[in-house]
Amino acid sequence: MTGEDFAGRLEAIERDFARALERLEREADLEALRVAYLGRKGSLAQLMSSLPELPAEQRPAAGKRANECKKTLLDLLSAKQDALQAGGQTADRSRFDATLPGRRDWIGSKHPVTLVLDEICAAFTAIGFDVVTGPEIENDFYNFEALNIPREHPARDMQDTLYISDSIVLRTHTSPLQIRTMETSPPPLAVIAPGKVYRRDADLTHTPMFHQIEGLLVDEEVSMADLRGTLTYFVRTIFSKKTRVRFRPSYFPFTEPSAEVDISCVICRGTGFCGADPCRVCKQTGWVEILGCGMVDPAVFEKVDYDPERWTGFAFGLGVERVAMLKYCIDDLRLFFENDVRFLNQFQAC
């Protein structure tokens, strides 16, 4: 074979390839054509294998020419592929509907109580509080006695109690965790205790089970300013940065001084009016009650053998459903425990 023969056969390959490509209509057939011409055993490879038959001086030129041919074929192939794909899109458009629903799976949800609980826990753990938990069926001692609520004390009327037996109750608040924590840990400490609590009470605004979060911080020289700061931080984290906080004196047997905390109404922004209508949430006062708190009563410290002269601290307890109602504008407490999916599904995005 001479160099000319070789070049002629290359041209023939290019011509045949171009012709075959011309006739080709489906993108799927491209691969077969590629293999036939450019594959390991394709016609170009076969021709290349005869390269050693050429006179030595003609080989470099022939080799170069063969590579050019290969490039030409690849370019043609790729151009054809683009053309087929472009044409294909036009042809497929009638069958492809981009708007059909996707293969979408179920969307789950967390309960609003969980959402709020998590958010509150996160706010407090972010500034260094630990989370503790304890039993829901509780001894009279932890639920009442150790919290400075002796038997036959009128403060027991503040919480209608569900009893298991004479000395065992369903905890009426998360405050027993104050005692349980201080019993097992020396000061200083800072904990929050979320959980279910129970009262013997059921009407429009009370359910026999609800959720609370208790907070307790004990250290040297803790003051009401610390309490106020902590709760202001909490309220502004959960609601808005502009929320105002009001402390009112109150009474809890295990804190002294005790206070109730009101926040500026999140519905009417503390104005008392929603447009021209009186605000129903704050009853036009501009304030809504959100939690109870106070400085730990020295009598409680004595129960757990903390020296009340050295250690001071604050405690607070708040109702989770109450916060959730304000946050999500839920107007009926009972919705929380009916578990109607039309309610639960509204929290999918949270």
């Binding site: 109580v113 969980t114 069926i137 569900l162 979320p194 089970m209 610390d226 202001t232 009474y251 578990n339």
Partner: protein, 806 residues
Amino acid sequence: MFLSINWLKEFTPYTGSLDELAHQLTMLGLEVEEVLNPFAHLEPFLVGHVLDCSPHQNADSLSCCQVDIGGETPVAVVCGAPNVAAGQKVAVAPVGSSLPGGMKIKKAKIRGALSQGMICSEKELELSEDHSGIMVLDPKCTPGTGLLQALNLDTVVLDIGITPNRADCLSILGLAREVAAAFDLPLHLPEFQLQEEGEACSSLIRIQIDAPELCPLYQARIIQGLSIRPSPAWMRYRLLSMGLRPINNVVDVSNYVMLELGQPLHAFDRSLLEGGVIRVGCAADGQKFTTLDNQERVLGSGDLLIQDGVKPVALAGVMGGANSEINAHSTDLLLESAVFDPGNTRRTGRSLGLSSESAYRFERGVDQPGSTFALDRAAGLIQSLAGGRICTGRAVSEPRPWTPRVVDFRPKRAQSLLALSTDAAASQKVLENIGCGVRPLHDKTLRVTPPSYRLDLEREVDLIEEIGRFHGFERIEAALPRIRKSPLDADAQVLGASLASHEFLNRTKTWAQGQGYAEAVNYSFCSRQELESLGLADEGIIPVHNPLSAEQDSMRPALAPGLLRNVRTNLDQGNQNLRFFEIARVFQHDPRSETTAREANRLGLLCHGRRNPSFWPWTDEAVSYLDLKGAIEHFFLSLGLEPARFSPGDAPQYCRSRIRMTLRGEDIGFLGRVQPGIAKDLYHARTPVWISEIDLDVLYRLSRGQSVVYRPWVKFPPVQRDITLICPPEVSYSQIQDVIAASNIPAQESISLQDVYQPDQSFECNLTLRITYRHHKKTLTDKEVDKQHFELGKKLLKALPVRFPA
């Protein structure tokens, strides 16, 4: 506690606005819950002047009146009262108004005569029970003025929430003290006349206290020759404004003085008392006594009784007896003013299910020295309303006289606890303002003697609260505390462990949400009956001693009852295709536990209805075992655990397919399909309901402490070979897995199930497995793989009754 503004002003000359007063009281811890007008229903009524009154032409019992109600011309009113007469000032309900009972006053013809309003009786106005005739007003009233103003009624009453520590504020006097202190106003005690005459009270009655620990003071006065009548209008109206029903002049005075001064009083008809003695002592166990509400009560030995020489006459501090009650014919009375033990009074009231205004105050504590003033005040008032003679002096027994408390107060301590810069002088002024005696001990301490009515001021910290209250909590600046943790000792780890398990529960919730389950929160109670119908009522159930209802009489031992009820609630509402999860505690009796209960965290999963959220592009299939099982396996794998072992076992009776799950030899829960009958009849579900409960405490224990350690992977290529086995029904997939796992074929890396095919009308099932082979040190040749694969096939045939397809 109600606070009538008019009454308050009799004690202290408050002249500011109502809003300011309400705000100040609230900020003192006396929360104003509502501002009421107890006589709002009388707002539309007017004073009328009967100008002319003539008999009705067509009815003997009716009169036709011309009444001036302030308009240009008088109105015609037909009146049926026997006492109506020209010249009277009367209460008129004009056309357009409504009577408290709801009757609307319209212009009407009554037997032919025009009537443009109604002249009212006291009963019609709900001012008393008197319906004998119309109410005749003071002749000085001006026609056309509102009845409310004309009667000078207390139209502004604050409803104040009193916390249990503030017994002193259960009276107008106590609230007035707070107002006077807050606004720096003087305080006036009520003035009264007390004319004693004749025999000494103590010579007529002897007081004997047998239980001094329950009754530190008992004293009484005797009034003779009085006459029981309705109280005058001012007294009746005032009691009405405070929400009390007027009875007669004696009972009304005792109620009035209780509201005014906070001291409960009781009046006995002295003619019904025998033996010239009042004894205060405990009842005999099982003793019966009829209280003045005519209920027979069975008493216990702790209940304190007031007895005369022969019989019990009152349940001390709680309620008087029917046998000695004041009645319309009483002329002599014995008026009691005593102090009873708070705890014991409360216990008696609670054990008998009996509450009263009196018991409410004794339970919280009354002012022992103040009880004498209250007794004298009441005696004077009774005399002025009912006449009679007050015997000289009081009969008294005071086995435990009041001793004032002394509390040392360090202004510095108040400053640091409240973060308020109040100096000793300012503190002293606050304490004196609230009635404390204050004497500086030295420069750092004040010696404080709280007044006898402030039983809540026992300790320094109680005084600190007073400083805070009167300076205003609002003046305390906010600051974030530094948070120090206790040293990292064993105790501190307890807190950390709690946080980790809390986070584990949260992580589980996030996983379940991601799997498309909606979180349910159910009550921790369920009904015993429901547990029985589910076969869950074994002996470990914890009953609630005083449940609100039978639906809530037991602590739940499982999450299933709540989740199944959620299915019913939703199906009844037309919500279908349900997927719920719940994470909560379940309860089991455990005598070894300090709370007699064992509480375990559970995950409940339930699905019902379609497998997928939509038809297209999914297929329409119901959820099945493999869906819920798959979710659970996904959960375990996501925790870094191996999938559990699922085997038929002893799951709850209410399930048909009962599958138990074990992980590393520990039981961690079950999975099953609710019996179709139970699902349909009790929970209205006609298609399969799949449910699972998993013990999260065990799972947490198994999953924790696992740390991820990176391992390099084998770089040689894998080779895969399929194998199809024809399996009889008794062969399970897990047996095949076990045989392969135990086969010790060196390069066998993993297996995956490719296909399960059950030919029609065959009990056998074809399982196709894909086995992956890979050597960690070299590329396997086809020959080597074939040999191992053949070896594996032989082992399977030997170990199990399976065969290869022909």
